[in-house]
Amino acid sequence: MRAFSFSSTPIDTASGRAALADPACGGYVTFEGWVRDHNEGRAVQRLEYEAFAALAEAEGERIVTEAIARFGVQRAACVHRVGDLGLGEMAVWVGVSSRHRAEAFAACRYIIDEVKHRVPIWKKEHYADGATEWVNCERCAHPGEHVHGAPAAAAAPDIAAVGAATGADFSRQIALPEVGAAGQQRLADGAVLVIGAGGLGVPVLQYLAAAGVGRIGIVDGDVVEASNLHRQPLYGVSDVGKSKAAVAAARLRELNPATTVAVHAERATAGNIGDWLGRYDLVVECSDNFATKFVVNDAAVSLGKPAVFASVYQYEGQLQVYLPREDWPCLRCLWPEAPRDGLVGNCAQAGVLGPVPAMLGAMQAMQALKILLGLPAEAVPALHVFDLLGMHWRTIKSARNPGCDHSPRELQASAIDPATLEILFPTLEAAHASGLTLVDIREAWERAMDSPERQIEWHLPLSAFMQGAPALPPDGRYLLVCAHGVRSLALAEHLRSLGYPQVYSLIGGLAAFE
């Protein structure tokens, strides 16, 4: 069967299905478009379809070929009706067969969206009141505002509609054949969670909002510091001391008033990220520490969401995309020994030039937009390593690690870097399992309000520490726990200065597990 064809008789889906059958395929996805009884508030009784066949078939075949190449599916085809159609009749059929279902769904959606957007097909609607109207192809979705012609001109009405509402104008990206009005709609329907609003997060947030992504979540518990500004120019001197997430949200609303921005002015933990990520299409990881990166990895894997990771060090950066596929490596596949924070430098210790995170963040934004648009973000899994001093970019192919089951691993006390002061655990059980001795430093009244299963056996309230020498053997390994991780951090620092080499603070405190 031809990849794209017109039919003047009812579409024979059985023979379409048979033509796509392939023993290598584990899935078959199909879409049927039907004639419905209303359009823009008017009752429709029947339709006539007319196509400029020579041009339309060539464009249709191009779309199907693109879908096969882009998504790596086995076979695909599309049949569009021409002529008279009654209510409920099938106007268009798309079929895709593939080894795995995810590619089949993506390719099927790509074909129908692109066919409606690019193939010149006109539709004459016959209304219940006896009137008729040519309403033509979808790329001219607003009759009367548009003259049929070159594809570039076709985008105009959509831009006018969006721009009138918000002041935003997406014409320069809608002009891309891979975006078009359908792609712009996908961005508007898309939702992205961004972890960290620092050097990487700033360009990610700016470009996603500016591109018209409909919903963006910002997770960052830090406030703006003067030392941030050289690499986070979304903020200004007058923002110093304010919540990064809140300031960023205000800037994004200005950039694109149509974007809904959710502010989570706290650190991402195993306890909170699942609830948030469940409501987004993908996550872009822009934090500055391994603990958060692995928390984000685990949440993305368990919820089946794509994740775009990046990290920088001085003049270098690393970029990795996780896609929720059986054969795709996660962050733990690449780094089976979850690296310890403190062992390799961060921006504060090692220094960084502003354009380094800016470039990596811009690439993260690019990958995120490609995922939302249904374009392939990565042909094969890889770690991209950038050296911006020498101007080299190496793409190192990676693969699923057979030793990695894609599940969170518990941190053992023996693997903790002594330079680390704060540690993040996904659960209270994992903290117990680490081998560290947990010490609850909250006051007695706070403990009394807790549920019994959250009780930590050893209780030494902060007030007792303040009154005298702590009753802790100095050679032990302790994890101090309070409500939110603020008092425990202060006390851990204090005890280090008193000669306790292995005292740590639980990041986020017990609230992280709620």
Binding site: G199, F290, S311, Y313, P339, V385, T395, I396, K397
Partner: protein
Amino acid sequence: MKTITLQYFAVLREQAGCSEERLTTAAATPAELYEEVRVRHGFTLPLAMLRVAVNDEFREWSTPLVANDRVVFIPPVAGG
């Protein structure tokens, strides 16, 4: 003996004082090669913290090296 190309990133680049070098070595595997350059450059990162790529693919530390291989030692980085 064989000649291979070595590339360093992040803290390894800092400690080596260069981002790339050509090296004639008897090392049979990336693990032996890392030990050789670790001693020479005073690298502080243990092998277990690193990943190695040979000719732009992640490989096991025991992969046999051949002449003209391009070996990259990659430390994890976390800055953002």
